[in-house]
Symmetry: C2
Amino acid sequence: MKRPITIALDAMGGDFGPQVVVPAALDYLKRDPEVALILVGREESIRQYLPGSGGGDRLGVRAASQEVAMDELPSRALRGKKDSSLRVAIDLVKSGDADACVSAGNTGALMAIARFVLKTLPHVDRPAIMTAIPSLRGHTHMLDLGANIDCAAEHLFQFAVMGSEMASAVDGTARPSIGLLNIGQEEIKGNEQVKKAHDLLSASDLNYFGYVEGDDIYKGSVDVVVCDGFVGNVALKSSEGVAKLLSHALRQEFQRNWWAKLAGLISLPVLRGFRRAFDPRRYNGAGLLGLRGIVVKSHGGADVLAFENAIGIAKKSIRTDVQNRIARQVAAHLEKRATA
Amino acid sequence: MKRPITIALDAMGGDFGPQVVVPAALDYLKRDPEVALILVGREESIRQYLPGSGGGDRLGVRAASQEVAMDELPSRALRGKKDSSLRVAIDLVKSGDADACVSAGNTGALMAIARFVLKTLPHVDRPAIMTAIPSLRGHTHMLDLGANIDCAAEHLFQFAVMGSEMASAVDGTARPSIGLLNIGQEEIKGNEQVKKAHDLLSASDLNYFGYVEGDDIYKGSVDVVVCDGFVGNVALKSSEGVAKLLSHALRQEFQRNWWAKLAGLISLPVLRGFRRAFDPRRYNGAGLLGLRGIVVKSHGGADVLAFENAIGIAKKSIRTDVQNRIARQVAAHLEKRATA
């Protein structure tokens, strides 16, 4: 009998560890009968959150004696924590015992260890981190979000290929449109890397839209926005900052006087609907693309619902065979360029 | 008799030209008895928006026969439009007939022409664009916002010195705190330029806070956030995008059904207060720092209120003698470093 789709979960990662990961696993299994999960970490910590019955035959526990701290140096975690929950979860993907893994742990360590254990796909120079972001038209995918700081044009091009495949896999879009993040001033437009990546993308048969600017991420002008990891990280964090500032101010405004408080009470269902629409938990789960295996990063502060969403992204990536699609596409684009 | 503080206004710049600039000038003069304004542009277009009486003895008109288009190449505007309203407004600063100028025109052309006509301050390698952004603690100043794409550490350091002086001048803070924009991943933290700028700033006697991330802009963790123009532009545009997305969604949510509409009606004063607090018009006006003269850029789409705000920033910059303060500080920091 073929084993079910299996996802390894780093049960110790993130700000809350098994307190969030174990309930998320139990919840997720109830909703998805096709998947089996393996909780990786300290057994006694994990069992604490499991019901007496264990959690069913689709929930396994795999012991790992160490943990990677959220602020631990990636190189140190890589060398010194060979039995960490994060490492063992990735090892399970490498050995084929799991089809993917999900971790809310230290991003730098996750990337470094995943890269070391799984290796990058053929022709992929650098893995990238990609996530979906809410937009006026639904959502926009964006990469890289911080794995790569200085990117050459070729790297940006590869991100575009990987992003296109991932967006296509996740959304079922045949040819996702790709935008290259730039700034709007003509003449001084873009640095050398961006300009060169623009030429590479224009010459490719990707569905390349052209340059986009920061606000296009939220307008939903394209399906996938490509940028280097420094810019992507700053854009994402800035956006989070604005969203927090505005929601804080809105709450304050509805507290200002008795009329405002009354209005707030009456508006409660409306404001809840608003909050639901942009609930960051629904967007939790960033794919580490370009590796020989599926690795999904959950936000460190993820709660149960958010972590379940990240498991869902891992499942979708497995189902759509995204890393093999990426491997084929990167190779095909290289070949086309070589024969052009 | 000493002439009053005089500000030249590019009356033809921006999406609306004299239709916005002339009423803004008339309004501004009513509120500020210390200032005289010179409207620069096509006389017949300007007069169309002036009252029959002219506008008083503190309002002059200076003819300019050309206009720089919003999408015109800066180099072309520089060479070919020597009698444009934008150029003549800057010429008035150069000749000393005006103490500052304000334009809602083409940013690239404004920067190129200002740099050509006024020149940079001694020891300043590159001018930068700086604006204030609302934050949880009031506002945060940020630079560069798009004038410089690839910045060496020394440029980032100079931005910090200029930003510190401008923030101090505008807000009256003695030693504004400075943050260097970076991403949070340890080890791969920052590119080479940012790391080197960090060392320069740490060794200086600026009130240097250290690295900040994108969300710190809106938390108000520091008074001034320093970054290169590519990153700054993307951060600003992304933030604008999120703010628009959220306000659009909030409006929609209050339209969803009759209850939501009723709640919206009752919440109208609250929502208006909210909108007022983040009214981008109140933040309009970006300083071009590092030039031998004061130049303020207004948003191209600015309305009357927004343009008046930009005039106010020019006035404040004149009053606090900001460009001479910048010149002194940049020289002092260089000297200190040389003798260290």
